[in-house]
């Protein structure tokens, strides 16, 4: 018989489909993957060490640069963690504005996940549709925070400024268009035979494996486990909203894809409810100029980010700078499961699995 050999193919770090600087080493026997080794660190910007040299307010823009596709979510998590540490209460109007911005960020992140999955699998039109719809959200961010991509509009104690007059009509028209957007994504890609052939049954993640590996977010829900921090441990005012959790049945790539599209619809529901209930009032609490939490106090605050459980562990030593700040990054932990779901598949499934796990390397490497 022919003698065969095991060989290694490197994917990345400079590669169009690796979502940043991800380096994946595929160890193959012919076309079948024997093992996958993931190398991280290409985007390691030493954010945790920098945090020890900045004050709590100065660190807010750095959190936006962690998960840059859903920027309001990590900023919200950090501001809420610091508010917990200091016992600051945020005014009602600011809470509602925060929820709207957070859910808009979640929609924007899922739209990029959908576009990037489209172009990774070869459907270039998918990229164009997702990016076109996302531009409306970028306009809304620019209208409020002044920045398209990395707006630090959410601040410690509330938000930076009150919403302009064009905000509510723009958000309302976006929410009305969400069913049309979902229909377009489903019609263009999900129903496509080639799409199903490439995604169905690929990269199956069993629910017990997912919990053991600490996978959270849409990836966990696609494996059938209904765990969402907005319902399990509500933060801010999330306990006032009524929404469902889309779940998957098989835990394969198609389920992970479908869960994200359905979550866009659910986020639209939350925004609608928030717009109706938003009161008038203050948009920022009275926060001292220099923030000095009590020495020895620590907090672990976690939120449901677009990628999963995003946690901030902050230890204070009584000064105006954190003693230790650790970011529990969902993408870092979700990527641990990539070798598990790729083994036994073919080479092109690596690209599908990375795309549907939806990692963000900025957050993963910090």
């Amino acid at each position: 018989m022919l003698e065969t050999d095991i060989y290694t193919v490197n994917v990345g770090p400079i590669h169009p489909s690796t979502h940043g600087g991800l380096h994946v080493e595929a160890i193959m026997d012919g076309e079948i993957i024997q093992d996958v080794v993931v190398h991280l660190g290409y985007v390691h910007r030493s954010v945790e060490k920098i945090a020890e040299g900045k004050t709590y307010q100065q660190f807010v823009p750095y959190t936006a640069r962690l998960d840059y596709l859903a920027t309001n979510l990590p900023v919200l998590g950090y501001c809420q963690a610091v508010e917990k540490l200091l016992g600051i209460e945020v005014p009602e109007r600011a809470e509602y504005i925060r929820v709207i911005m957070a859910e808009l960020s979640r929609i924007a992140s899922h739209q990029i996940a959908i576009s990037a999955t489209g172009i990774d699998l070869g459907a270039t039109t998918g990229l164009m549709y997702g990016m076109r719809d996302r531009e409306r959200i970028m306009n809304i961010f620019e209208m409020t925070g002044g920045q398209r991509l990395l707006s630090s509009y959410i601040r410690i104690g509330g938000v930076a400024a009150d919403i302009p007059d064009e905000f509510i009509p723009a958000v309302k028209s976006l929410v009305q268009d969400i069913p049309r957007m979902m229909e377009e994504y489903n019609g263009l890609m999900t129903g496509n035979e080639i799409w199903a052939a490439r995604m169905e049954g690929v990269g199956i993640l069993a629910p017990e494996t997912a919990i053991q590996y600490g996978v959270t977010g849409p990836n966990l829900r696609a494996s059938g486990i209904a765990y969402d921090l907005r319902k399990a441990e509500p933060y801010g005012i999330y306990d006032r909203f009524d929404f469902d959790l889309p779940l998957g049945k098989r835990g394969d790539s198609l389920d992970r894809w479908q869960v994200r599209i359905d979550e866009i619809g659910q986020s639209g529901r939350i925004i609608e409810q928030a717009l109706k209930a938003m009161p008038e009032g203050e948009i920022k609490a009275k926060v001292p100029k220099v923030l000095k939490p009590a020495a020895g106090k620590e907090v672990y605050h976690r939120i449901e980010s677009a990628k999963g459980e995003l946690g901030y562990y902050i230890v204070s030593d009584g000064s105006s700078k954190p003693y230790r700040l650790h970011v529990r990054a969902p993408s870092f932990i979700n990527l641990m499961v990539l070798p598990v779901i790729c083994r036994g598949g073919v080479f092109q499934d690596i690209i599908t699995n990375i795309a549907t796990l939806d990692p963000i390397l900025g957050e993963s490497d910090r």
Partner: protein
């Protein structure tokens, strides 16, 4: 002034020739014209700035109207390296290798504060103080992140540079 065989080798004016649809130029100018109107960018980026590069390529900003939509994944087919994002210690050998694989003439745009000087992360222990510490840069575009319009402005500045022939040859 050009010799014209048809008219008994009398010297002819370049402008008069142009009026008769004959353009006179050097090979250098012709290549520069072709190169500047269609850079082939390399698909490179890690971090926040390449998201704006993606937005620049998508429908709203559309870099195809400038001729720069042929984005190549393989460095050997690309001539423009847009360094978007910080260069970390681990990424440095990868960038050097990719830059070395690109054939001449090639250009580098440093996009964003991180690529220019390390940006907000310059205090860190793992970010290089700018990409020009390892490879030569032609155009610097400041911003954090760089808006797609600013990216186009930078590319158009590079186009002017190339048309004037003001670039490095190996």
């Amino acid at each position: 002034m050009v010799l014209d065989a048809k008219n008994g080798n009398k010297l002819q004016d370049v402008d008069e020739l142009a009026r008769n649809n004959i353009l006179v130029t050097t090979f250098e100018k012709l290549w520069n014209w072709g190169r500047s109107w269609s850079f082939w960018p390399l698909n490179y980026g890690c971090n926040c700035c390449p998201i704006e590069v993606m937005a620049a390529g998508a429908g709203r900003f559309d870099q195809a109207r400038f001729g720069y939509e042929v984005v190549r994944a393989v460095p050997r087919q690309a001539d423009l390296l847009t360094v978007a994002g910080p260069i970390t210690l681990k990424m440095k050998p990868a960038v050097l290798r990719v830059w070395a694989q690109m054939p001449e003439p090639k250009w580098v745009i440093a996009m964003g504060n991180c690529a220019i000087s390390g940006g907000p992360f310059k205090d860190g222990y793992s970010v290089l103080p700018g990409v020009d510490s390892i490879i030569p840069v032609d155009v610097y575009i400041p911003g954090c992140p760089v808006r797609p319009e600013a990216l186009f402005h930078g590319m158009l500045e590079l186009k002017k540079k190339v048309q004037q022939g003001d670039y490095r040859r190996s």
